[in-house]
Symmetry: C2
Subunit: 462 residues, 2 copies
């Protein structure tokens, strides 16, 4: 490419050569960061190739590499060998989805969990405080959980197909906390974790915070494609994989048993660490005919299985169980100590009591019925595609067309009184042409409110 062609094929970004100070690579990176956060470079914009920019700025091109790399680590841009470097879809904003309610808005965004069942929890809470051993819950002992709590936990997970002993389970403060512990314990900054093309947005943010790079892998209706994973593993060094086999968030895809085994073979071969988030186990095991087992037991020595009780039992009591192989035990308990010291024994005790008394199962049945009703309501507004996705999912994944500006779409709907999230928030890497909305069914105050919300949405999309 001739040096003087800049005017004919203008570069999308022309940093001011005079603004560069030494060290160049840092200076250039912060210029880029500014221009992205100021909105001067929109998400999706292709940046000049390293060599071209180097030519323009009269620097060696690996100096540009380093600047780009700094911004990539911060999640501002992403690079694809062969095609170029692009501004990341979510460069300018955080995609974390929180429960912070905005007044007078119907929440189809955050996925809560039919809090109507919490009266049962209150009752049990009141009973729990009368235990004779209450004071044992108030000291620093048993940082990974009290033995009888672990026993109840194992008992609970038995029906999901999990079998483990006291030494290989830990109780932590909710599933998100478990993910944080797992990442901190088992990965280093710069490591790579394979994920589905669309994955849990709070995991994306968490990985960003820990400077772990996500490698999106294509999938089909049965889950991630083993060949695609294999391909990526051979290409780049991949250290781990994050999966939600029992019901992917946001796509609602359930992984078939065959697919689990095929993927496990690839994971085993490349020695990846598997993080299996089974938060939807309660909606899947025993309901789905094809369901056989979580992936954990296919790869026990290289997996962390996470089972949170926020969705299945109660969201305010912060409890999740982590199950792991012997090889990971020490690192995980170390990380739990570093991040939490210990989990509140009291929260865990209430959950334990709920499990042992059978109330937890009552709650689960109730939630399943509510999920069924909510899905029935949804299908009145938007037809469910047969055999695609989880039938009882707490959210749905709605393909949309012709709404290209994700932010605009969310804002428009907010103005009409509903909160939903655009598929952009769930993209672990590059942009795709397909667009969806994730519709939470379990967060409205009533089914009437859900109907109103879905009505508004349907009207808007038509």
């Amino acid at each position: 490419m001739p040096v003087n062609s800049f005017d004919n094929y203008p570069m999308s970004w022309k940093p001011d050569k005079n603004a560069l100070k030494r060290p160049f690579y840092k200076s250039l990176a912060s210029l880029l960061e500014q221009d992205i956060t100021n909105g001067f470079l929109a998400p999706g914009t292709k940046l000049p190739p390293q060599r071209e920019l180097a030519d323009f700025l009269d620097l060696n091109f690996t100096t540009i590499t380093r600047s780009y790399k700094m911004c990539e680590v911060k999640g501002l841009i992403y690079a694809v060998t062969g095609s170029g470097t692009f501004v990341a879809p979510n460069a300018t904003r955080s995609i974390t989805i929180s429960a912070d309610k905005t007044a007078n808005s119907i929440d189809l965004g955050f996925v809560a969990s039919f809090e109507q069942t919490n009266d049962i929890v209150s009752e049990t809470l009141q009973k729990t405080v009368n235990k004779s051993y209450l004071e044992q819950l108030l000291n620093y002992n048993d940082p990974t959980g009290i033995p009888h709590q672990k026993t109840a936990a194992l008992n609970w997970m038995e029906s999901f197909g999990i079998h483990a002993d006291q030494e290989h389970i830990a109780i932590v403060s909710g599933a998100q906390n478990a993910l944080a512990v797992a990442l901190a314990a088992l990965f280093e900054p710069g490591n790579r974790i394979a994920t589905d093309l669309y994955t849990y947005s709070n995991f994306i943010e968490l990985a960003k915070m820990f400077h772990i790079k996500l490698v999106p892998i294509h999938g089909d209706q049965f889950g991630m494609l083993p060949d695609e994973l294999e391909k990526q593993c051979c290409q780049t060094n991949i250290d781990g994989i994050f999966l939600m086999p029992s019901c992917n968030n946001p796509t609602t895809i359930m992984m078939s048993d065959i697919r689990k085994q095929e993927l496990a073979a690839v994971i085993r071969k490349h020695r990846l660490i598997l993080i299996e988030d089974d938060i939807h186990a309660f909606l899947t095991a025993g309901i789905i005919s094809d369901y056989r087992q979580p992936m954990f037991h296919l790869l026990p020595e290289q997996s962390v299985y996470i089972c949170g009780t926020s969705k299945s039992i109660c969201s305010g009591l912060r409890v999740a169980y982590m199950v792991y192989g012997e090889t990971l035990r020490e690192k995980i308990s170390q990380a739990i100590f570093n991040i939490n010291v210990k989990t509140s024994s009291f929260d865990a005790e209430v959950i334990t009591e709920l499990i042992l008394s059978g109330k937890a199962h009552e709650i689960v049945s109730h939630k399943k019925r509510l999920a069924q009703t909510a899905n029935d309501i949804y299908s009145e507004y938007f037809p469910l595609r047969k055999d695609v996705g989880h039938p009882l999912s707490l959210y749905r994944w709605l393909p949309i067309k012709g709404h290209n500006d994700a932010l605009q779409l969310e804002t428009d709907l907010k103005r009409r009184g509903i909160r939903v999230f655009h598929s952009n928030r769930f993209q672990s890497g590059q942009t795709t042409p397909d667009m969806y909305l994730r519709i939470a069914l379990s967060s409205t105050n009533s089914f009437d409110e859900l109907k109103i919300g879905l009505g508004i949405l349907k009207q808007y999309l038509n």
Copy 2:
């Protein structure tokens, strides 16, 4: 140095040239890691200078730099310009101090907090479950704490000299959790944080996990020396500073008010982010005559103030308060969401009730009396130096001589029935010739047990 002098002045480490594979720097780093973890290279050993090793291996010396750097980031070695590179004091083991009790051992190691007061907590716990708004505590709302809980928190911290509003306080799951949140929110891997020469060992481990480098700064009996901090700030890029002004752990040093102001000036000048861990506020404010204020209000826009209730009120209820300036608000709430989603509202509610009912103050008075007694007992065995350190500290810092092998010392004492920790565990950077033991006074089951433990210790040291 002539190339052939290796035999005359043998290098402390001669990696096998043939074992090196490409890429050299990674291969060399893992050789070094192995030799350290196998105990082949003992802590404190001086490694060959980069240039010398490069000569020996026939590589460019910056390749060695990179290998050393990899190991340094992992906390295996540390380097001092001008003097050389050394194996880190705690390279081979984790220094995390946990409450995992070993049977039949008197615990003078882990600092608990006189759990005798937990009967008061039990009572309040039982009352709390009868609140009419109990179900409000069981959902996903208010991730940083419910407003009335925050009000109580501010109320509590008022007496420590903290004034803030609802938007600048968050409730998290204990002080360690707050530290994790602060590091995740405000620092990046590779950042540097200044600390006292001896500092909280769990903070050292946490920083290691986040790949944050600690820069030890010398101090005197009034705390860290401002000139030393200034010097380091000018030399290397320092991003933050961690301080426990009201009672350093492990040295028990309280910072004088003048020193706080001098340090604040340096911190302001270099725009460091201050993490102020004020877990001992309850033992200091109102007791120490010189006490005026925490450092937070000297630097409100660049500080995070952390006030845990584990030591002062109850350790099993995992609650700590974080107070911060507007500039840090967004990042911190983001990190809280990423790591915890939310804190258990129930734990926070019990603490709130304890504060509002005045029981918390009762507990604190009780703990202060216990601390006084424990310190009186200690002084019968080991004389307290006048005017050095906190008079009511829950632990003491005992200078020892002639016991050079830290691990051996800890093991010897363990065999005699007591658990104590050697000063090596608390070193944030290089080794020092001075040696101490940290003696926890608040973790034995009774004062008689404390006396027995101190007796054994005294006999052993003589």
